[in-house]
Structure formats: structure tokens, C-alpha cells
Amino acid sequence: MSKQDLLSIVPLFILTSAAILILFSIAVKRNHKVIYGITTLSLLADIIFLAVAEGPATWTVEPLFIFDGFGKFNLGLILVTALAVTMLSYAYFEQREERKEEYYILLILATLGAGTLAISKHFISLFLGLEILSVSLYSMIAYLRKRERSDEGGIKYLIIAAFSSAFMLFGMALIYYTSGSMEFGAIGAYLSSLPELPIIMMAGFGFVVVGIGFKLGIVPFHMWTADVYEGAPLPVTSFIATVSKGGVVALLVRFYSQVNGYQYNSLVVIFTVLVIASMLVGNFLALRQHNVKRLLAYSSISHLGYILVAFIAGGSLGKEAVSFYLVAYFITTVGSFGILTYLSDKDRDAEWLDDFKGLFWKRPWTATSFSAMLLSLAGIPLTAGFVGKFYIVAAGVKGNTWLLVIMLVLNSAIGLFYYIRIIAIMCEKQGATDANPSTLRPSIYLISGFSVAVLTVALLWVGTFPEGLIGLIRSLLSP
């Protein structure tokens, strides 16, 4: 291993060591604040390292990892999002009675897994990343183990994740069986020597798609999403919605482009069907949903569909669009769940629509940022979501995937309904009597509030002046 190799995987090291450090720290003394500090600092350090570390534009750590612009970008995105989730977690868990400290270990490990996915170029690293992520998530989802729904979510996620992992592994085995390699590039090279996709290979791809589809929560592998989102503690939900999906999207894009999946009509058709189904089913499921967590879950299904529209459209613009939309979507999703977190009290999460009644008049700022988040999800200008959607439509139009573009437009229109419904409810005149549940010092909420504010500003900033972000993505993505 060369020095550059080592240097490259420092981000992973930092996370690993942070996890170990927290373990030790817990062994010495349980202190939520300290652990929280360690987590935040290590994530920050990681981000800073990633930002300042110099090195070649692309560096591969054979055979497992590749550090190119796309990988770095996604890694960075995952780390930042993880940081944001951490920020939101503190107040949330501080209210709970469970032991809070191990959560951070799991969080860091899950981030590690997702990060690994983002830079992997080999089935083994893929598998490891995926499983580190998954296993951590099982525990995270069921973390508030006294809550029935938490456990239910955990077990559902576990069984389904393992089930789909099995599919994916079997698929990888089939691919390996045919091509003789587990490295994406080599598989691509093997395939390019063949006139068409061998049937076993095809089956392998199909099984891998099942696994990936599960993680992304696209139709028909989406059914767990709502239950898990609902059952999991809010910060975890936001983590699942963002980091875990982001890593897999990065992986999918890399894998697909390396094996050059665009040339296989059947794959394109499969994805097209899945994407259209995701958009439609997600939106229709969300349409009259009364539980905001579930609603956001269903909306995430359709949003993944939107992202994959750009993915199918392909090309450099498609890749950019995916990256950009991920950013926008992450900001928005973390922001939305952050607001839910912010509004949650000791006993239960703020998740029913009734909890938001008259929010505009009770907590105008919170409501305003939540509206901004929802409008961003709906793709309304002045928000990042709009530019993101614009980007995707641009990619779709450029790639001539008209069917998908039209479906996207149609679905955006359907989606409008349930987003603005929440806003409408927040505007309603009288609210339920506010029992003022915050039993903690207000200063604790400061962090959450601050994070939400930062996210809102970022949302609006990216929505109004996307130039910088687009420039960054372009510079990283262009070889």
C-alpha cells in the first residue's frame, strides 16, 4: 500500500477510530455531551480533511476503492449530512430515557458504511459497506426499544434487508460466475467484449437491482419505507432517508456507468418501469397520508424516482443532476425531519398532521422553514428543490427520455397536493392547545434550531444562487 493509498482512506480511518474512541469513552464514563462532542468533532475533522487534503484527482486503492471527484463529492455529502443528523440528534435523545451514548457509535458506523459504498469499486467493498450500514441501522431503528413501533420497524427492516442482501449477493455471485471478476471495471471490460448480455449475467444484474432497489426504497421494494420511517427515532429516520440512500445512489451510478449499463436496452427498460412506478406509487401513497413521517417516506419513494430519471437519462448532465438533486434532497429531507425532531416532545414524535395545525401562528419561524422545506420538495422556485428538479428535467430532456420527463411532471403535480396540504394545515386558524411540552432547557434546542436555520438558509441559498454548487459539482465530476 502506497502512502497515497493510506492517505486516501484516511476519511474511513477517522470514522473507524472515532467509533472506537467512543467505545472507550463510554467504558470510562457515560456522558452524552462528551460523546456528542467527539462525534461532531470527528465528523468535522473528516469533512475538513476531505476538503483540504490534496492529491491526484483520481486515485484508486486497488482493488477496493476509487477516489474520484464523484466519490469524494458523495463521501463529503454523506459526512456533512451525518453531521447534520448528529446535530439534530442531541436534543432528541437528551429527552429520552434510554441510554443515548451507543447511538453515536452506530451513527458513525453507519456513516462509515455509507461512505464506503460511495467510493467502492468492488463487490467486496460494496458488500462490506452495505452490511456495515445495514447492521448499524437495525439497531438504530430499534434504538428506542421500549417503543413498540421502534422494534417492529427494526425487525421488519432487518428481515427485509437481509432478504434483499441475499438477493444481491446471489446476483453478485452470478455476475462473478460469468465474468470472473468482482471489480466493476473488469466486469465492464468483460461485457464490452460480448455482443449481448448473457442470461445469467442478466439475472445477476436483476438480483443486484433488487438489493439496490430495496435500499433506495423504489417500487416494488418500497414497502418497508413507511413502516421503518414511522418506527425509527426521528434522527434515524432522517439518516435512513438521506445518508443510507445517498451512498447507494452513488454506488448505483458508479456501477452502472462502469459496466456501461446504458447500452443494454433491457436494463434501461427495467429501470424505466421501476422509476415510473416509484414516482406514481410514492405520490399516490402520500396523497392522503395523515402521518407526516409516513408521508415523507412515501414522498421519498417518489423523489428517488425523480433522481433516477436523471440517472436513466445519463450523460454527464445526468450525473450532475443526480449529484445536485442529492444535495437538494438531503438538505430538504434532513431539514424536514429536523423540524419534526425540533417539534417532538419527550413522549412522542411530532408526526400527525394535527400536530401542525396553526403552527404558523404558534411558531412562525419553524413553520416558515418547514414550508420552505416542503416547497423545496414540491420543487417550487427560490428553493434548492426547484433547481434540482430543473436539473433533472434538463437532463431528461437532453437525454430524450420524454416519457420519464412527462411522468415526472405529472407526478410533481400530484405531489404538490400533499406538500401544500401540510402548509395549509399550518396556516389554519386555531391550533390544538399547546401543552408546551419542552421540559428541557431551551438552550438544548438551540443546536437543533440552529441546524434547522442553517439548513433553511442553505436551501434558499442554493435555490437562489445555485451557481456555486453547480460549479463545484462540475469541477469535481469532470475528469
Partner: protein, 511 residues
Amino acid sequence: MILPGFIVSLMGGGILAWIASQKSLVLTRWISLLTVTVNLLGALVVWWQQPGVSSLWLLDYSIPWIPQFGISVHLAVDGLSLLMLLLTFFLGAIAVLISWKEIQNRVGLYHFCLLWVLAGITGVFLAMDLFLFFFFWEVMLIPMFFLIIIWGHENSRYAAFKFFIFTQASGLLMLVAILGLYFVNGNQTGNYTFDYFHLLEANIAPGVAMWLMLGFLAAFAVKLPVVPFHTWLPDAHSQAPTAGSLILAGLLLKTGAYGLLRFIVPLFRDQAMVIAPWAMAIGVFGIIYGAILAFSQTDLKRLVAYTSVSHMGFIMLGVFSFNELAAQGVVMQMITHGISTGALFILAGFIYERIHTRDITRMGGFWKSMPFLGACGLVFAMASLGLPGLGNFVAEFLTLVGAWQATHKFTIIATLGLVAATIYSLRILQKVFYGTQASATMLVDLSIRERFIMMALVVSIIWLGLFPQPILNTSKQPVKTILEVPDTARTKDKSMQIEIVSIQGKGGRYE
């Protein structure tokens, strides 16, 4: 610098008004009134100083925004935009004034929304970059949505949703079309840009162009609205607060008409000519359909809303007649309809403030207790039925004269729409002002502020009816440019030209 100034000042004024509401509501109202008035004066100054009719673009402002996509903040004003700006600020000021007493809760937020709607509309009228245009197109909806849902009437949620989803969904189709245009042009010229002036020269294959045009048309047709897509309008108009209805009817609908003139005709001239008979047909159908529906409504605001549907049919007819007369008529129609229908909504608002109902079966005999209101109602009912001497007549007559050059049968039907307009307009007068007053309580006639508002509207509608020429002069050059077939297009496609001739020829006979 004055062009971005318009938009920024409105946005800034909105924020300022919101902040000021913490201290004093009166201050909030004054801030927003002042902001709009200053803008109105600014626009008037631009109008005053315009260097004759010869130069098309009076002001131009451009800075890059998202250079990666060739998007810039490109604002420019020609006569057409200028007129629309004047209308926007004029009605904007009136909207602030009518809200003075009507809005008593969450005043700061209200004025914020109001000014931001105006900012969005201003942006739509100024944007010369298609992305920017779309941006503003969508931006104006959100504050409008809030205006309807927070300060609206009993069924405001349904109305707001309908409004929002209709306009958004159609807007997205336009986005797709804009992007299509962008890439078609970019692939051809290598210059990927959203700039209007560049895209004007795009050379698009007819089949593609048709689809692109339909995308644009979807957005404009819903906004205008054209008949099968009009159903959001009666709900939104009747549920919105008075200022909301005023802005909806007076300005928001005009963005659709403006879009037809600014984008559909110059960008997709040939395709627009192909669909012109259909477009005119549904326009004319809308005239009659809206008028018939208006007649049976019992909700005063809903009634007026349907008259809007009817009047907007003239715009479809005029735009797709492709001649200067009709197009100038359309421009006049945009302005005069904004004023007259806005005024009718304001009247409905005044009445609502007094008797707390919009049901015309519970009105009657108001002439006795509120003669001033009655006189104003008379003026605007007459404007609505196209009485000469009031601005709407000039608009509709020009449109019809122009349309006659293009099509006979549609023009005849549209002219019959004038009869229908008479029927519903007189019904308003009959039900509201004639007869005996149902309730025994004496109603107070308009206050000084209300009188001022009405006088401003009455004077302007009469002025437009008697001296429309300054307006027509201002819009003359832009309209000509929009209609003019550029030299390149003339030689570009001979067969298309022949087709146009045959279409026109078809309309030339007496049918």
C-alpha cells in the same frame, strides 16, 4: 438599474413591511403603499421618457446568474412590458389601499405576500431569459397561495389548492418546453442559453416546435384561462380576499396573455398559425361559455370570475388572429380588463364588508343607500359589457375588427358574446342595485378612501376609453415586432408560408 430595482424594491418593501408590523400596523400599510407608489412613479417616468416609438427596447439589464446553464438575470422593457408594469403597480397600489381596513389579522405577513406577488408578476413581465421567466412565473404563485388560504373566505383551502395545482402543473409543462427549446437551440448553435433574444432565432423542426409550443401554451392557457382549464378561476377568485381577487383577475391572468404575445407568437409563429383556428375556436367558445355561466351564478365574486373567463376568450381570439389590430386589441384588453374586472371585485369586496355575504339573492336596492357605489357599479358593469367610451370597448372592438380580418364565423360568435355580456352585466346591476333593499339596516356609502380607489379606477377606465392612443402608441412597436415575420423565416420554409396563406384564405370567405 431601474429594472431590477422594481423587483428588489418590492421584495425589500415586503420584508420591511413585515418587520414593521411588529411595531405598527399603520406603518406596515404605509410602507407597502409607498413601495408600490414609488414603483408606479418609476414606471411612469420610464414611460414619460421613452424616446419615441421608434426604439423597441427601452431599457435592458443583464447579469449572469447561473452561467453554467447560460442563465442570466436578463430584464428588459419594451412598450408592452412597460404597459404591463404600469398596470401592475397601479393595481398593486389599489390592492394595498383596499386592504387597509379589510385585513385586520396578520397584517405584516399579508403585505409581505402582497408585495411579493407583485414582485413575481413584475419579474414575469420583465424577464427576457426563459429560465428567469419561469422562475418568476412560479414565484408569484406561492404568496398568492398564502393570500388565498390565510385571508380567504370560507372555502379558501379548496380554492387555493386548485389554483396552485392547476397553475403549477401547467407551469411544469412549460418548463419542459423551455428546456426542450434550450437544448434544441443549443444543439444547433452550440450556444446553450435561455436568453429570449437568442432563442428567437432558433431554427426548430416543425414537429418538435409544435410540441414545445403546446408546452408553453399549456401554462398560458391555464393561466389565461382557456375554457376547459378555467375551473380553478371561479373558485380562486371567489375565495380570495378582495386584493387577492383583484390581483388574480387584474394581473395574474394577464401574465398568461402576455406569455401568448411574448413567447408563443414570436417563438413558434408557424405552429401557432397552424393551431390558430383551434385556438380561436376555444377562445370564442370560452367567451360564450363564460358568459352563460356568469348569468346563473349567485355568488357575486364567482359571477365576476366567470365574466373574466368570457373576456379572456377575446384574448385568445385576438392573439391568434395575427394582425396588428387584434393584437393591439389584446393589449388594450389586458389593461382594461384588469381595471374593470378588478373594480368589480373591489365592489364585491365593499359590499361584502357591509353585508357579509356575496350572495346576490340577498342583495338589492343598494342604489338607494349607496348611490356612489351604485354609480361605480354601473360604470364597471358597462365597461364589462363593452360600452363605448370605456376602455373595454376599445379593446374588444379592436380585437374584433382585427379578428374579422382573419376569421368570420368566430368573430360573429364573439360579437354575440357582447350580447351575452350585456345580459350578465345587467343582471349584476339588477340584482345588486335595483329593486328594494332586503335588509332594513341602512348601509353606509363608500368612505373617502374607498371613494378614492373607485375614482381612480373610474377615471382610468374612462380615460382609456376616450384617449387610448397613448397606450396604443406605446405598444405599437412591440406588437409590430412580435407579429412581424422575420426575414429569415420568410425564406426559410416556403411550404409553411403557403399553408398559412391557405388558412387565411379559408377564413376569408363568408361562412
